[in-house]
Structure formats: C-alpha cells, structure tokens
Symmetry: C2
C-alpha cells in the first residue's frame, strides 16, 4: 500500500466548513486505499492573531530581545487546534484518525526559535499508525527541540513540515493543497494567457520560488529535491467529486526530477519580484580589495546581496558598481555603505527602490543557446531598458524600472511561446 502526505494551508482550513471539505478530500484518498498523513496549518488569520499578541507581550521599554522560545510556544498553538479539529471531523465521517503534535512524533528541530530547521523525524510510530489505516493529522510548522521546547519553522513552514514528514515516511508523493491550482508559466494576474504546467523540475521551482512566485516555501523544495520526492501543488477548492481517484488523472502541477519530465521546454516560466532595491556606487577607486571591503561589511551585517555589476567609469581610474538587496534591508545597507565610504573613498552612493527583477527560467537553457538573445530582443522591442543582468545555469534575470514590470512579463511570455501549448 502506498503512503501519501497531503498538506493544507491556512485558507484551506479557515473554518469548519472548509475543514469538512478537506476531510472529504482526505477520505477519498483513504477510500482509494492509500495510507495517509495530513499536515495542516493554522486556520487563516489565527497565526496573525497570535503573533499580534506576542508583539504586545514582547513590546519592551528596555529594548530586551524578543523571547523567541515563548513566541514559538504561543504561535505553535494554532496548528494544534486545526489538527484536533480535522481529526474530529474525519472521525465523524467514519474515518479513523488522530492528531499528532510535533513533539508527539517527534519532529526534532534545532533551537533557532521562530525559524528553526528540522533535524530529524522519528517516523516509526507515525508510519505504523498510518499503515494500520488510521489517518495521521500532523500539526505543521512546529517541532520540538532536543531539550523539549516547542520550535516553529518560520512563515510557510508547514510546506517544509509536509515534505519532511513525507521523506521520513518514504511516501510516494507529497500533495500540497493551496489556494492556487498549480504552478503557472507566469502570474495569471498579469498575463491571462499563462498556462498551468503539468510538471516542473525541482531546480526550476527553486528559481521560481526564490524569484517571488510564492507557491511553495523554498526550503520545502530543497528538501524534496534532496530526497527526490515528488511534490504536487493543487487547489483545495476542488469539489469532492473532482478529487483525484486512484486511477484518475492527476491535477495540479508535479514538482519532480528533471529526468521525469519528458516534454522538455527551453523556458518554463517567467517570474518577477518587486522586493529588491538597487544601490549604486559611483567613482570607486579601481584597485583590488574594494569589492571585498564592501561586500564583506554587508555580509557581516547579514545583508543578502543578489545581483552585482561593475563597470568602468569614463575616468580611467574609477569604477561604478550596482547591486541589489532586499527592500527591507535597503536602509541598513546604505548605512553600511556610508560607513565604508570614509575608508575607501568613493564619490557617491544612491538607492533606487523603483526597480523590478524579471527572470526567465528553464532547464533547457543548459543545452540551448539564444535564450538571452530572445530575451534582450523582446525587451528592446518594447523599449524596456535593462539596468543589471545576472544569470545562472537555468535562468536569466534582468533588473528594470518597476513601471515596466507587467509589460516585460507579457513580452517575455509571448517571446518564448509560453502562451501556446
């Protein structure tokens, strides 16, 4: 008998009516003979309520650091509630079920409270329970440290819980039910011709996720890739009759190994992000050690730098440099840059938050040339100016004026024929 993990996010369990819908989807898989573990998030809005309370309780006149272990104790309660309610609902539908908290399994996490990483899942009891035909309803987002404190995995952590539980159970697949019905070639809110992908590789999904297509938490995709575990993204808002049967066609998008994707595309999708800011440094002294001085100081302050480009100024002795950081870090990054300025003596630094990063992603780029040429040509044709370029093996990103975001996304989507099957 095959083991299956199903995961439902906050909007899918937002109230008792939706929890009943989830229970029907779970029941259909049980009827189809699968051994099922279900991972659930807190009911939509509950985590925010709990976090607001911790903000109120932690607000400190003395500026004492937040009590992250107690934050976790409070916030982990949301998933506990959903797990209990879903187990009750399943039983009332005649499906054997019980809830499992992180500490009951246990899911061992490190003690980086609020953003803990799963270290180990001891899944023997859990596996035996589901093999006996009892649905295991697992509270997502939470684990327990080796000294017995509750730890949470950070926002979106239930995806990671689900993939980690699936890996520990050696499940055939992890189904992530969410409020979208799969992974699209681009954001359908920008391009109505966006198509749902039947399959996408782990690496493409990772680039999508890190570039702002917020379907799956990045860490969960990394984990799935490490264990070569197929992950399916699909909507929890299907009607029970449409739930996939044992032999029915799979819905949603399967995230899997590249080798399992028969119909390979050169470009799979166009992603965009407005979460970055561009910092420009002018008149840098052109000698070794300048870059390491700047980026060393930023790294020491935990500021993540994404794209970097350096160019020589007209004056032969100086260079200009542009790089991007997360918008949240922009202010701090500028402070660090100003501090370095006095030591290395460049002329000026500016920050621009009105930028967007647009990327084309596809494993086919490895073996095909001309992807960049198509990209730059399509953008030039629409009059979109490229400020910074960065590339990896399977993606090309450009930084542009944020006002051109939608125009650029649509132009690229058409240029690679993503609107056609």
């Amino acid at each position: 008998m095959s083991r299956l993990v199903m995961k439902f996010g906050g909007t899918s369990v937002a109230d008792l009516e939706r929890i009943r819908r989830v229970a029907r989807l779970v029941s259909a898989e049980v009827q189809a003979g699968r051994h099922v573990a279900v991972v659930v998030s807190a009911m939509a809005g509950k985590t925010n309520e709990l976090v607001a309370w911790t903000d109120g309780a932690g607000a400190s006149a003395q500026g004492i650091a937040p009590s992250d272990d107690e934050y976790d104790t409070v916030v982990a309660s949301g998933e506990q509630v959903t797990a209990g309610l879903l187990a009750m609902t399943l039983r009332n539908m005649g499906v054997r079920a019980r809830s499992w908290m992180g500490w009951q399994i246990p899911i061992i996490a490190d003690d980086s409270h609020g953003r803990a990483r799963i270290e180990e899942i001891q899944a023997e009891k859990l596996g035996a329970a589901i093999d006996s035909g009892e649905v295991a309803v697992v509270a997502g987002f939470q684990g327990v440290t080796r000294d017995g404190r509750l730890a949470t995995l950070g926002r979106g952590g239930s995806d990671t819980s689900a993939v980690a539980v699936a890996a520990a159970l050696e499940a055939e697949r992890c189904d992530i039910y969410t409020d979208v019905d799969g992974v699209y070639t681009t954001d359908p809110r920008i391009e109505s011709k966006a198509r749902k992908l039947a399959k996408i590789s782990y690496e493409e999904m990772l680039e999508m996720a890190s570039l702002g297509a917020k379907v799956l938490q990045t860490r969960s995709v990394e984990l799935a890739m490490a264990y070569n575990l197929p992950v399916r993204v699909l909507s929890s808002f299907v009607e029970p009759g449409e739930a996939p049967g044992p032999d029915g066609e799979l819905q949603g998008t399967i995230v899997c190994d590249e080798e399992e994707i028969v119909e390979k595309r050169i470009v799979s999708g166009v992603a965009y992000s407005r979460d970055e800011a561009k910092i420009s440094l002018f008149g840098l002294p052109d000698h070794p050690g300048v870059s390491s001085e700047i980026f060393g100081a930023l790294a020491d302050a935990n500021v993540n730098v994404d794209m970097i480009v350096q160019s020589h100024a007209r004056s032969a002795d100086t260079a200009n440099m542009e790089f991007t950081v997360g918008k949240r870090d922009a202010g701090r990054a500028m402070e660090i840059v100003r501090a370095v300025q006095s030591r290395i003596g460049f002329e000026d630094a500016t920050v621009d938050e009105e930028v967007a990063k647009v990327s084309v992603i596809g494993v086919g780029m490895r073996s095909h040339t001309g992807v960049a040429k198509t990209m730059f040509g399509a953008l030039a044709e629409k009059g979109v100016n490229i400020q910074v370029i960065s590339t990896s093996e399977i993606k090309i990103s450009v930084l542009i004026d944020a006002a051109y975001t939608e125009l650029a996304v649509r132009a690229l989507h058409a240029a690679y024929g993503l609107d056609k099957l």
Copy 2:
C-alpha cells in the same frame, strides 16, 4: 527560600493589559525573595471559542461519540497561549521566566479525556527551575496521559492544576487569584452585610463549594486538604502597590486546616443553590426493597441524588418519598422513576424545579448544639416553609420554595450573627 504557587483564572488574563498586571503581581513576589510557579488559565472567552469549534467539528449525523482526546488537543491550546504570553511579559519586565506545558513537566493524567484526573507530577525539573530564580509559568487545566496524549481536567481544572503543582513542589501556599477578593459569609449580591472570612477550614470550603458558592473547584479543595496545603483566595484586580509584600498582611481568605483557625465560629457561612429539582413519589408500597429499587435504578443511570426524606402516608400501607437531583438530570430521573413505577406500583410522581437549597455551614456544629433550632426558628419567623431537611457533621441544609431564597439567606445570616465581626 520559600516556594509559592500563584494561579490566575481566565478573567485575570483576559487581555495583554491584564497579563501585565499579573506579571507585576508575580514580580512583587519574586522581589520578596520567593520561588514562584504561576499557573494560568486560557484568556477569558478563548476556551468557549475552542469548545464551540469542537462542537462544530464533532456534530455528527451518525451520532458517533465525541472524540474526547481530540477535544482535549484543541482545548488545551488556550492555556498554552497564556503561558507563553505571560512568560514573555515577565521577561520584558526583567524577570527570568519560562513557560511549562503539562507534557513538559510532566503532569501525568489519566485518560478520562475532558475530565481527567492528575495521577502524578514529576516536579524535579520544575522545582530546580524555580529554585534557580526563574519563574515557571505553568499551563493550567492540562496534563499528558502515559501514552503521550493531551488531557484536560474539566472546567475549573486550573485550580486543581495549581494545588497539585503546589503539593508536588511542597510549596508553602497556593494563591488562587480570581475575580472575587475572598470567601464571604454569604453571597454579597444577596446580603450586603456579608463579611469576608480571613480563614475557612477545608471542610467548610468543600461544603461551600459543593453547595453552590463557586469560588474554588471542589477537587482542588479536596487535594489541598489531602496535602494540608494552605490555599489563599484573593482578587487579581488589586493595584500593584497593594500587592502583598514579604511582611505585609495577607489579603483574601486562607483555606486551611481547622486547627489553624484560632477564632472558631459555630457557623461560618450561609450557602444556597438553585441547581436542584425535587421529585416526589406518592403511595409507595411500604415494604423492604422499594428504596433500593428506585435509587439503584438512578445510580445505574449515573443520576446523583442529594437529599432524601421518606414519610408515612395517612393510609397505613403506603409511604411518600421526596428526593432531589440536579436540575439537568431531572427529566432523565423522571423517566427512570416512571419505568420503576410499573414494577413497584406507586401511585404518582411529580417534579418541582422551583426549589432552593439553603445551608448553614460551620465546623463549630460538631461541639455546639442548638444550631438547628436557631435555623428552624429564624425560618419560621419569616414564614418560610421547610420541605426537606438534610444534615452532615458540619452543615444543615433545607429545601424551600425558590421564591424565598434571598429572604431565607438574609434571615439566617442575621440569626447566626454573621453580619457582626
């Protein structure tokens, strides 16, 4: 250094403002050099919200029994939230603190989910923590079964948690902070001359609690008596400056061993309850076995019978009988009585819900006579008719027409001089 347990109910921790007030009260005890464990309930209203969800999830078309273990999983989350928030608040006031869930201590409970009893508290870790100067904030109302499931103790269970934790820690006292400032000679809403008692014995408190003075959960008083642990009842709505200091006079009411009460009163209080219904059976055959037939059937159905009186009817061969049951059980009790009627053949049965039980309580009754005489005299003087009488070593209860409740309470309060110091 002395160990102290402080307990705060739902209204005392209803919001962040009140949690800060609680933290100030805790901090004052720490400043006074005590080693403190705090037991907290869920924020007022939260348990009701959680219970309503379980009702919704458990509502079953097939009439399947409720999933009490999952009910406990859901409902226990309320105390978890409060414990984390109070620990954070204390830390932000510069007081070392951490939260403890029932399963972290552990508080071992039996598996009568929803009304579990504490079997054992392994308090070594907890005791070491508070002796190190760290406040332990314990989630009340919850324990963990021997097979690792969450269990709750039933409504008001946090009082029991607090007393059990205090007993396990061998604390000098357990302070129960609530929304009243102590135990009164009677209900101040009925008799404005009611006085707060400085001390009351465990046995008197037990009679008070079981008779409807809902200050402390009965089980918690039994436990305190078993361990001879002093319990103080006091208001959490005192101003921080009024918090009891190390040498300050104690506020509230101390529930303790009779031996420690110097100024002994014959009668300590007047209690009343409108929660009972009277069932009258007429024309019972007057032969052995009739009573055991009736009360055996009621006991088999778990219907608790309180007062019983039997009298001979004018016709020599038959008797009449009156007894009281909880109002909630009245309908079921009548069904059982009707079923027995066909077998033993009495004439008629009636039920009267318009009754009240009024009781005078005092350990002094053991050594003083005349208490009953004073009671009956005072009631007769006001024209209050007594329907049923029952007595124990330290209390006399009478059943009267509910319309006379307040009149009777005030008359008895005055008759025993309880309005005078």
